[in-house]
Subunit: 291 residues, 6 copies
């Protein structure tokens, strides 16, 4: 079922590896973990397969896993196909009425269901949902200096449909479009949605997969990784410029999640194969943890 | 929440109507009914709203309702947008690799989730699924004289995800794309899928919404409607030419459903507002019933 | 099963009526409603049948309905049969030992079980209870200026037997005789008992069926109906004489019920067929509501 | 709570008695036993109290007990009160329309609810039902040489309401009037009803309380009691005249019950205090057992 | 199944005894009672059988009973067999590493499982546990003036395994060895363990079976028994010397249990056959009760 | 918690190992596996710890695991301590009355509870049972040419107590002494008991841990291992002398288990660390499988 290379390790060593993962499995068994999936890990096929395997393994050891995904490149490709230019304002996609329709159908119809099929084919049980199902995500227009069109700000998370899906044994795969209060649909930032969903489920962990190693003290030196950050240190790190640029919104999501009751939030490197498993089931972990 | 015109009927008459619906409600309460939704009822906004109201009313009186939908016009529109011609062979869409992607994203991402939002906004509880979720529909390539591309024939229906959704109180809304056995996706005829899903759920009724009054003895005379047909009469009616043209595949679906254990299958006129309620909750019923 | 006249309304209008009832059904589904049944609606056969239909329809749309009934005329008839005069003091029946036996057997054995049979024959599921079953109503002698014999004042309501009956799917039909603490039995005013039972079940609504239109500002002018009264306005309305005579104890029951946690109490006109349905499932409602 | 005389037995002997009852309790715990209560045991107050204690003790040791009662003397008294003569044809009460109303109200309203109150006051949990509740007993007119009026023959037993009551922890007390198929009510022989109810519940035992010691070989010699009879011996015993007179219908009930799946049927002497307990919890038993 | 002498009591008196036990059974049905079993009642075969019968009878009348046992004589016998002297310091066994192994195997392997077999053979359902199962009892070394070796002091009671056993219908039989926090095992005083287990289960009663009549005001006069003691009176009774010697630790257990929420604690005379039943099911009770 | 050496494998390789175990975990999740634990794996501390880890890992991935153990060396040591010689007849221990007491207390009191403590200390949930608990194993004296004393032959397996323990989340650890029908206790061969327990639980697998590599075609050449044997080949292999000596009874247990419905029985080498995990979670497996 898997196409991953069969590595050369003695059976005895295999057994040791399993046994050494045991305390971590034990600790997380029965817990809820929300994974925000995006970036290179969604583009590279080998990485994608590795992530799907990680997710199914989590399900097998009784972790309640929710997979929240993005899909920028697929949206861009579709927009291009219909001859529409992708337009970004301050890093956010300007989303007119036609665009939000494309966003919805590409995310909820294509990216989402393809992931579901991949998980099912690998032996997982998965269900593809978006913010419209069971009114999971309700949003208003995001207030912004410059008009962003149908970009939304979450007002309410009704996690009941996720709880129902989890308790029936499914991995919910979630596209982050949200229902407005007047029949309209909004495009929602996937990191933000994952954070709010994690909070609403009182998840043990939120894991954001990114294309960076984690938070670096010196952004040009990967060996300067800061492995653990307390939420209260974040303002100081921003002032010092350690947290800057694209890391700011991601780390704000982590802070928000922790503030709303998620035990730990992690920024991990999605470019490393099986980075989720390494984070969950080894001593060293990976990336930066916020608590 | 509803925009339907408030009709002028005295409260006393209203009460009578409710009371007279009682025996029908009683008979159907707790039963499963699969509705195939398509045609004009999906295009006309007033009809669409009436159908959504019918579906929610069914849920309110404890009917387990599954909504299977088509979406030809929306697919055509999207194909046109990307500059691709819709091509049909013997009434069936030729579906190349690019087309099946569009079919999937338009049906499962747009049409499906829009219906879910509509039901939710009217106070229903709905969940949008397709054949990939929980491996609901598994298919192979449909054998055909002329190659149809990714048009599939259902091999297996895993209705567990529908049962889970129903028992958690949701109206499952189903797009009829199916998972192949090698990661590919197939386009599936929605009538056929509805019939197979109804059979798999051992539904009490299958209701196909069409743009005709029902089976007519004389196709040019609506007063020649045949209200009831036994499955064993179908071959004779075909030989006599009463069942012909576009009615053949629809009636074959009804026969198939009844043969596989669905108690009754109905072909009703989706152009009549609230035709589902009229069928379910009045003496006369509507359209043609197969049993 | 029903003998009500089949009214002439088009199927389309029928469907509209059902759809328009939908938001009301939705709001009340799963809620508990206590109906005090009495007066003309219990004597006139057509009205009686209409009420039974209303009750069963409520059960069908998942309302938890409890039917509390009186039975003065039947008691009088039986007393007359054994040659005993009915004696009233200040509007209340003087109830000697022989009378309380007659009251118990007529209410709990005849009126109650006849209603049960009627509901069952119309397709409902009903169970006939009185205050002695499961010690539902415990009472002491009602303190009064003039001795009333075995007329009781409720001390304790043990609604467990009603909850058990409702959760097993029955409509509890309740006769209002109560158990004393020394083996004796008391006659209890049915309005009072209904109010106390509604409070004990934390019912959403208490509905008192009466032989008046509701609370009238001018008791000789039915067009002066006061549709809504807040509980805090009642003392003023009494001082003004708007609430007077036989309305006082009925409205006191409504106030008592609301004070003990029932959301709304209604005085409706039992002489209007299907007054319960009109109250529950139309915009206008009927009678006077207290909250 | 009990007024029974406190007998002089040492505590050690008391403990021995309890321990010796143990194997019988163990054997019957969780089983269903239907007791037909009637005769002297219903008239004599000390006997009545003893029976009620027996019933509650059965409930305490987890026996599922159903109490079916008669009430001839109370019916006669009421008929007399209204100046109506009791008329019997071949041992059966001629039951005109007025009589069946009296039968219903005296049994279901007075005798039944009084027993419920007695059980409740002694700490039991009881619920008073008749054949109309939940359509427990459905009957047609009993065919007979001479017209008996509203005397019925059971067509259907819907024991669901008894099972619901038992599983909610109540002792169902049952009056044997039955619902006809056209709104009428029938008077039903209580022994027959008890036998049919026992069969429908697949009871372990049916116990008929009578005013005789049991089946005697010589009806004038109580020492000639036949303690055990197999159902297949009954025809022979009838031919020999050992079973004759009033014993015939009672023993026919026992035979009927056993034939329909009740494990054992007992005719016991209701004039002996605590005859039920003696039958259930001692080696010797009492009366005559049919199997 | 029982070998107890069949006492000569009339069936009528037997029934009376059962009925008179009824209010006590009713009061205790569903409650949890912890019995500490030891002393002569464990050595004398007739007494042992009587206790087992009492325990099974308790189970039969739906009491949740936990049996905590000692086993000093058996331990001594085994130590003697391996040529090891039993050594006591201040009334407590000095328990070296070899001794604690013997204690564990004799208690948990022999005494415990023999009791389980006895209960099973008499028709009970029993399960043999010790403090190691499910980490029921966790202990540290008991701090003492003179080193006592592996004698422990309870730090934590995890009663989950007892609750699981009780809810699955078993009588848990408990040996009082406890798990240390570093893989070692401790010997625990059985009275103390019973008191802590009773508290942890929020038991209704703790019953300590002893070889004395109860607390005597004059220890040489059995007629000076003090039947009831409030926990607050204990210090005064100690000062007066009424509570002295071997009674001190036993009564301290009772006080501790009551302080931690057990409703009543009893010291009863295990030398009297069926002393538990006499205590539970008669007016007089037996021994001394603390509350 | 574990003292096993931390092997040097990259985190990436660790993740691969976990992922590669996934299909095996998936296949066995929810299944019941009975492990017979004995031989060197019980004596060597490192092996013992590895086995305990394997068992807990099985529990973590939702395998229902039952651990049946032997304990010959511990029994011998205890017999020696009390100066009693171990006597064997045809490979089976002659078990006089004194010996069976020692067997019971050493197995059920010491070996069993020590394993329970070990599992609990490593984070498992375990419960120590023997054949007496819940009458799990009932036996008669084993018929044999030469008298073996209290060596038993299993007559009945009441696996209810194992099912109760498993469903409450415990790993049942089972000592193989059995209850006779007259209060006596029998010593039971642990392989045989494990096979019968596996059959009674309809286990997916029975795993016998031994001190051999598996079934060898040439008993002096470990490379001649026969990895898979069908039950029907066993007689031929016996005739050929491939199955001989001590392997005969072990393989007979495997055959017996498979015949009674266990899907697969395995003879594995307990001297290899983590041999259970290697068997369950790798392609190659280990030892010899019977089906």
């Amino acid at each position: 079922m898997t196409t991953e290379k069969h590595i050369k390790i003695s059976n005895s060593d295999r057994a040791h590896v399993l046994v050494q993962a045991m305390p971590y499995i034990k600790k997380l068994s029965g817990e809820t973990i929300v994974v925000k999936y995006g970036g290179n890990a969604m583009i590279d096929d080998a990485l994608k397969e590795a992530v799907m395997n990680d997710i199914i393994l989590m399900q097998l050891v009784s972790i309640q896993v929710v997979l929240v995904h993005g899909g920028g490149p697929e949206i861009n490709a579709m927009l291009k196909k219909i001859g529409k230019e992708s337009k970004f304002i301050g890093g956010m996609r300007y989303t007119d009425a036609e665009t939000v329709e494309i966003v919805q159908q590409v995310l909820a119809g294509k990216v989402n269901k393809d992931l579901v099929q991949l998980l099912e084919d690998k032996g997982g049980k998965a269900i593809g949902l978006c913010g419209l199902d069971g009114s999971l995500l309700k949003a208003d227009k995001l207030p912004a200096a410059e008009d962003l069109g149908f970009v939304g700000e979450i007002r309410d998370v009704n996690a009941k449909i996720l709880e129902d899906s989890l308790s029936a044994g499914y991995i919910p795969v979630v596209s982050t479009v949200a229902a407005g209060y007047h029949g309209e649909v909004y495009n929602i930032n996937a990191d933000v949605a994952a954070a709010r969903i994690a909070a609403s489920l009182k998840a043990r962990k939120l894991i954001l997969m990114t294309d960076v190693v984690g938070l670096l003290r010196d952004k040009d030196d990967e060996s300067s990784l800061i492995p653990v950050v307390t939420v209260s240190d974040v303002p100081k790190l921003k002032r010092e410029g350690v947290i800057s640029g694209g890391m700011i919104p991601k780390i704000d999501c982590c802070v928000e999640a922790v503030r709303r009751g998620v035990e730990r939030a992690h920024i991990i490197d999605g470019r490393t194969p099986h980075s989720i498993l390494v984070e969950l089931f080894t001593d060293e972990g990976i990336g930066t943890m916020f608590y």
